[in-house]
């Protein structure tokens, strides 16, 4: 312990080391604050939904109560869905930065409503948002390099190595002590602010332990790499250049090339193309004979086939039927798109097992439920809810039941049960 105290004092006298540790602590705190502010903003937006929804529905309900028209209710009323952030989301914002976390849906065609944005493998993309995961995965290795590249070579270049190694507690024991001390300090300046933020955010203790363990393991990977380069007995400058190149390759180049390779190997159409195709099918349906539209719809949904025949006037059940036909016309494209995303995600996970930077980012995003799988799970929840919504309105439209203000209260409500 006494030797550690001496090493600690020695370290504290090195301005560059102290400056580096202070900067890393500052960046960590700033990243945590940014992440927490963003998640607080998202929680605030979600918390504001009920009031806004009540206002929306109130306006529609008055009109619907007068007309008793379930079709108008289905057409004009938007129903909110949301993806509540997990407690750990502040640490790795992931796709919450780019994918919608609130989607308001109507009982019309769902595909065009869902594919307003596109999905990708965010853990393979370039840095992205400034959050805790960014600081850990992208910046922390640079600080490891700063503190470890000259652990031994600086002593050699200063002419002290031989004298230190000639002392009974010098040599390997000395390098081990210095390594452990630096590693502990780096771990502390990242881990302690995270633990405080996690406690404030109500993250489960087990998850906090996993993350701080992950931080230690990731830092250790870079320390081991620095030690490996140090064994080559190159100069401090050569060590720093080699480690910086390793950082560039492992953190930026390989993930980017991996992303390009996976995307090239697994071509996936844009989600917007599905939305466009669905909209074209829906728009084209105005020119399709109404009987043909209904026959196609009833063939797929015989439960509603005993509905009264269409009269000459406009009827929302025809309108909703061709919307659903439109959805079904792009079903193969949707399956292919989803399958492609899943395969890309699997490719990204495979790469994450080989590359620690991607692995750490992917694991953090998984734990924070901000990755592609979480986003796809949210889409699944939207679809399931939309299915219930359709069934609810179809019950009025295809049975010609009147729809009043009170019926709005019976409309299915989205209940967020995070999964994925």
């Amino acid at each position: 312990m006494r030797l550690f105290r001496h090493e600690f004092r020695l370290l504290l006298r090195q301005r560059l080391t102290v400056g580096a540790l202070a900067l890393l602590a500052l960046l960590t705190v700033a990243a945590l604050a940014t992440g927490m502010a963003e998640i607080a903003r998202q929680r605030g937006a979600i918390a504001a939904i009920p009031a806004a929804q009540a206002e929306d529905i109130g306006a529609v309900a008055e009109y619907v109560d007068r007309t008793k028209d379930a079709g108008s209710a289905a057409y004009y009323s938007f129903h909110p869905t949301w993806d509540a952030p997990a407690p750990l989301a502040f640490a790795a914002l992931g796709m919450r930065d780019v994918a919608p976390f609130i989607v308001r849906v109507r009982a019309l065609g769902i595909e065009a409503q869902i594919y307003d944005g596109d999905m990708f493998n965010p853990e393979l993309a370039l840095p992205g948002r400034f959050d805790f995961a960014f600081v850990l995965v992208f910046l922390a290795p640079l600080f490891v390099i700063a503190l470890f590249h000259d652990l031994v070579s600086a002593e050699r270049e200063a002419g002290r190595q031989r004298m230190l190694e000639a002392l009974p507690n010098g040599g390997r024991a000395l390098w081990r002590r210095r390594t452990v001390l630096r590693l502990l300090l780096l771990w502390a300046v990242i881990g302690v602010p995270f633990a405080v933020a996690a406690a404030m955010a109500g993250v489960a203790f087990g998850q906090v332990l996993i993350v701080v363990g992950l931080v230690a393991a990731y830092l250790f990977f870079w320390v081991a790499l620095a030690a490996l380069v140090g064994r080559l007995r190159w100069s401090s400058v050569a060590n720093a250049a080699t480690l910086a190149a390793a950082w560039l390759v492992l953190v930026l180049i390989v993930p980017t090339l991996g992303n390009v390779a996976i995307n090239g190997a697994i071509p996936v159409n844009q989600g917007a193309e599905i939305a466009m195709a669905q909209r074209e099918a829906v728009n084209g349906a105005w020119d399709v004979p109404r009987d043909a539209t209904m026959r196609r719809f009833y063939a797929r949904h015989p439960i509603w086939a005993d509905s009264a025949p269409l009269g000459p006037a406009f009827h929302y059940k025809w309108y909703l039927a061709f919307h659903q036909n439109g959805d079904e016309s792009v079903a193969d494209a949707v399956r292919a798109y989803r399958d492609g995303l899943d395969r890309r995600d699997a490719g990204g996970r495979a790469l994450s097992r080989l590359l620690p930077p991607i692995g750490v980012q992917a694991l953090l995003m998984r734990m924070a439920r901000t990755d592609l799988r979480a986003q796809l799970a949210y889409q699944d929840r939207i679809r399931a809810y939309h299915e219930r919504l359709r069934s609810f309105y179809y019950g009025y439209l295809f049975r010609d039941r009147p729809f009043g203000k009170a019926d709005f209260d019976r409309a299915p409500r989205f209940a967020d049960t995070p999964g994925g």
Binding site: R2, H6, L10, R160, R162, A166, L167, P168, N169
Partner: protein, 252 residues
Amino acid sequence: MTHAETVMPPTPDPILIEDLMLAYGAQRVLDGLSLRVPAGSITALLGGNGAGKSTTLSALLGFTRTQSGTIAVCGIDPAADPDGARRRIAYLPENVALYEHLTAVENADYLLALSGERQGRGAITDALAAAGLQERAWDQRLGGFSKGMRQKVAIAVALLRRVPVLLLDEPTSGLDPRATADFNGLLVQVRARGTAVLMVTHDLLSAADVADRIAFLEAGRVAHEVKASGPDRFDVRALHARFQTGSARIPA
């Protein structure tokens, strides 16, 4: 005067080297080196570049493994038990580079800790004073210290450690005559405490001034060893001639 004629240790010597061999491929670095440094004595090891002086120090410190022969520090083989040997050795490299952002006292404290020693400030400052470092320098950072001042700090650590063996690598190179004289005075103090001092040097005059024996190393072996005797200690002129010419015999 030969090694066999001049060195006959009465007691087990802190530094004992016998018939030491080390070769890198066809190049013999140590070729049957034999050397003894008794307790309370100073031996200067002189020789040209590549004669094996630094390799000898490396072997004593356990940094270099030799291929055959005997090498022992207080009876401990440094190759087999380097930590055990190093606990008995204080080593001063040619350029004593300490930590510039620590004070003299802090440097000494740190080096003592690395040696497994614990000494209070009083003992450290006493040792610094004994080593000749002026009081006003004790709490100064080493940034502006001269080589001589740094050596004094390192010697103070050696004094505090009370080790039986002191190894010095070119201790007076770069020192002015006054600092050299100061340093030699320190070595005399160290010797008086019973320490066996082995000093690798090119500085013949300094060696002649302070050493009890001077050994000439050539091609990895001690070609000659001369013991101080009489009021003049050494025939410096003869030693100088020997050192300059590298001839096989010392003029009578």
